[in-house]
Subunit: 232 residues, 2 copies
């Protein structure tokens, strides 16, 4: 809780009065780097580091030191001139910014290959997420438990979502069912959806959507590979 010199970061009064340095909405790219900083900071702590610097973080992640400082400055003053950043303190700050300092209950719809893998994925818990229920339409799966998580009939989504005050949901159904699944999630009061189905879905403007298409990631790789070969 105490900084290296026994005080709080820089001019604390100022830091607290203004919520963040720049105005306007935070660029999406900044937020995605924030998650990378967090992950790297947690790694550094496991390796025994007490403090780090913008140049160290930048070097590992492939960003410039200026960019690291600028990104963090959107949200406040977290560093100590001449010293750097205190890892534990910055982890705490970034978690607060991302909203993962508290635990989020999450539900998942679709218990196929991918859904099962996500149910068992340890990384979610480690970052503050807990899958509290799974849903499917296949009668043979309903009632079973996987990784300690019960599989419910999709029809019970509204009921269970309300019961646990669920805000976040993961779509792991086939592409053909993704849009209707999203609509059911929205109807059940969810406001954030992580979509693994390889299809574009649309949600109301008050709902956040993040899409992850695994095949697209491989496509990005092939493009980069063939163009690298072409250069040399």
């Amino acid at each position: 809780m105490t900084a290296p010199n026994g005080r709080t970061p820089m001019s604390q009064q100022k830091s607290k009065s203004r919520h963040h340095g720049s105005c306007g909405p935070i660029p999406k790219a900044v937020v995605s780097r924030l998650s990378l900083y967090l992950r790297e900071l947690q790694h550094l702590v496991r390796e025994g580091h007490e403090t780090t610097s913008s140049s160290q973080l930048g070097k590992v992640l492939g960003f410039s030191d200026a960019q690291v400082r600028k990104d963090l400055a959107y949200f406040g003053q977290f560093g100590y001139p001449g010293i750097g950043y205190r890892c534990a303190e910055l982890i705490d700050a970034i978690k607060r910014i991302l909203g993962t300092h508290r635990q989020w209950p999450v539900i998942i719809v679709g218990v196929g290959n991918l859904g099962r893998a996500l149910l068992g994925y340890k990384g979610f818990q480690q970052q503050g997420f807990r899958i509290v229920a799974a849903f499917d339409v296949d009668a043979r799966k309903i009632g079973r438990r996987i990784e300690g998580v019960e599989i419910f009939d999709l029809a019970r989504l509204p009921e269970i979502a309300e019961q646990h005050n669920i805000k976040l949901g993961i779509i792991a159904v086939p592409a053909s069912a993704a849009q209707t699944t999203a609509e059911k999630m929205v109807a059940a009061g969810l406001v954030g959806i992580l979509n693994f189905a390889p299809v574009t879905i649309s949600v109301p403007p008050n709902v956040s959507l993040v899409g992850v298409d695994l095949a697209i990631q491989l496509e990005q790789l092939t493009f980069s590979v063939i163009n690298r070969l072409a250069e040399t």
Copy 2:
């Protein structure tokens, strides 16, 4: 093979002589949108559309029509003024650009929860990827087959990679093993790595790396959700 009017796109001579309109390297963001265009075009074809337009593609995907045209113009002239783009033709062109018009053999290292799901993921095959071998260090898994793919001892990676002329590999091992896995892949001649381990890994400059961190995707969602609530 023939365009709507029986001819090839616009001034074909020009289109063929210059490889792409703008100079310098292609922005990464453009390439990732290219994959989204491809996915949407394939969807449109399944729905029976023959042609589409930059404004239709843009509307569905949330981009401006100008951006769609600009992105495509990096690589050549694919459209017909007054008509739009012929879906089948544009699909073909984008696949060629991304390098997925031919099939890529892929290997995967790590047959845990996530690795097994990826082995069974149909989306890879559909986009031109084929997982030809899996690797693990767990003796109980070695020799087994999952989804028709044999699991080999990781020690045999160089041998099998050479045999199948493998360029692409997927890392699905725990974070602690990711860096050494990457190094073994590079030593085995792979030049593109898709990393699902939640850790930053480093590879030589002649190797391409794409990282997917599932927990980070959820973090992006929580940020967006809490800041949306804050606005209103």
